[in-house]
Amino acid sequence: MNKISIPIGPQHPLLKEPLTMNIDISGERVLGGTLRLGYVHRGIERLAQQKTYVQNVHLIERICGICSHVHTTTFCHAVETLLGIDVPIRAQYIRALMCELERVHSHLLWLGIIAKHVGLDTIFMHTWHDRELALDIMEEVSGGRVSHAANQIGGVRFDLSQEQEAMIRKTVNDLSDKANTLMDVIENEPVLQARTKGVAPLSAETIKNYCVVGPVARASGVDVDMRRDHPPPPYDRLTFNVITRQDGDAWARTVVRAEETRETLKLCHTILDEMPDGPVSVRAPRKVPEGEVVVRSEAPRGELLYYLRSDGSENPARLKVRTPTLPALNLIPKQLSAIHVADIPVVMAGVDLCIACADR
């Protein structure tokens, strides 16, 4: 068979965000591929140096359209560490609640995508509707579906009223029921299993060598979760299980994310139960004293790293964002060998790409 090269991206039905890949195939066999980023590079790290800290909270929120809240939380945490101010505990819990809801909607979104890629549009439609429930909560309490603008330096912008807490509990219960139904469907779907089991398995050794984090790493048995290992507040007060699997194939990744959705919904209840009363924000000065800080947190896709240096002015002197997708993208060309053309979508979906995150 002749070797032909098929372009995937920047526009392709497989991709939800622009990315270019050139994949060499021979018949139905994939020989290898290359990858090119940069279509949504917005220069946010450079731009952040020209904006004030207050403005940067909103700029940082626009790095990603799915995990926007965890970016601002991490950024605010970094700035607050430099300022040396203690964020009220209630504000920390509200932040954590939003983070967990975001994880739920991100994982449900991902389950929909993998279902769509293997041709199971029904599950795609059902998951994406259920995901709306999580978005509805966030819109109700913060005012925005995707860009919540919930954080400000020193706390959060809104408080949860009694009715809102009751509404969240009810919706989270509802969501748990729906998530259970979905997991039931996914676990008993024979064709989905046939398409994902044994596809592009990654050993723990490969995962470690490629510095991959998050659900992809946990599906290969690398037990790493920054919420537990290096807890940003208030995760040091919360207890939850970290889900791991050993197989490392696309099916293990599906199961890990599905189980994590359930676990996260349980954690939402814990957060609401343990949430103390009190103020939700403190006043923060506009100028940040000189200093540097490294902050890590667990985004839905894995470890998120922020490095922030302040030179005492209103603008950050250097802001470095390492998003969890970046090392996972590195792994894609490696996975693209000795698989079928039909497995390309499964591999691409398996690492849960977020190109906007990786490009910044």
Partner: protein, 308 residues
């Protein structure tokens, strides 16, 4: 002469088949939408889509053979329309003759081959990939489909669809004797129509649009029409071959029964596309040759034993 034109252009020819295909497309999309908790299109949507496609600019990439690309959907359309003349509708058979089942099956596999050629002449990488996939799929489903469809013919002792219907009148619907054959025929039909879950040649996330990736405008509209008419004819054929009661003494009863059976089959097809994921091409080939072919042979053996 007049009656000939009537048969060709109005019923059961062009107009009836086009209307049926538009209705089928709407019903299919509406059902699928409801299975997926969506609203679905209004009743005129398929017609609007067709008009839109026919009024759009017709483009082909450089290096593609325009003449062949235009001829292929036309040939397929004429093949399926001709096949439609021989398929009885509610017991109405103007052109029936002994052996028309074979003619129908032959004419209905013309679009698949044209589909493959369409992929080759329109030079895109996805088209070629989709074209070769459609041929692979053709070899996987066609054999069990043909073996399964010969079941009713053997049972009634005739290769005429009308004769098969008449013998079902006395023996009862063949689905009672050949349930496996019916299931295989439905699977084969889904494969033939390249519908979800066997839409491997045009799987969106893998090969974009398959062989029709580079087609636009009127040619694309024709291809849509061909696929939908093929679906309607396939359903008509299965209704006649397996479900029986479509040729009774009262034509009105026959029409009602025929419509109900048509709707049931549409629900089965839409339901299958809603609940199954797409297979990989090697998995389909394995399914076809390891499971479907032996099953169809078993069914035929059973039918022959019953005849003795």
């Amino acid at each position: 002469m007049i009656s000939g034109l009537f048969y060709l252009l109005l019923f059961p020819g062009l107009l009836f088949q086009v209307i049926c295909s538009l209705f089928f497309e709407w019903l299919d999309r509406k059902l699928l939408a409801r299975f997926q908790r969506r609203v679905g299109p209004p009743w005129f949507q398929p017609l609007a889509d067709l008009i839109k496609l026919f009024s759009k600019e017709d483009l082909l990439p450089e290096g593609a053979n325009d003449l062949v690309a235009t001829l292929l959907p036309l040939i397929s359309l004429s093949a399926v329309l001709t096949a439609g003349l021989y398929i009885p509708i509610a017991g109405f058979t103007p052109f029936s003759f002994e052996g028309d089942l074979i003619v129908i099956l032959f004419l209905m596999s013309v679009p698949t081959l044209a589909y493959y050629l369409a992929g080759v002449v329109s030079v895109g990488v996805y088209s070629i990939l989709g074209g070769s996939r459609s041929l692979l799929q053709f070899f996987s489903y066609e054999v069990p489909l043909l073996i399964a469809l010969s079941g009713p013919a053997i049972m009634s002792g005739s290769w005429s669809v009308e004769q098969i219907m008449i013998s079902q009148g006395s023996m009862g619907p063949f689905i009672l004797f050949q349930p496996v054959g019916f299931v295989l025929a439905v699977v084969g039909l889904i494969g033939k129509l390249k519908r979800d879950p066997l839409d491997i040649p045009k799987a969106k996330s893998e090969v974009v649009g398959g062989p029709l990736t580079e087609f636009t405008g009127a040619k694309m509209g024709l291809w849509h029409l061909v696929m939908n008419i093929q679906a309607v004819l396939g359903i008509f054929l299965l209704t006649n071959l397996y479900l029986g009661w479509t040729k009774t003494f009262n034509p009105l009863v026959a029409v009602v029964v025929f419509i109900i059976e048509f709707l049931v089959l549409v629900v089965i097809l839409s339901g299958a596309s809603a609940i199954y994921a797409r297979l990989r091409i090697d998995q389909l080939a394995g399914l076809g040759w390891r499971i479907l072919v032996p099953l169809s042979l078993l069914q035929i053996g059973f039918v022959i034993l019953m005849g003795i």
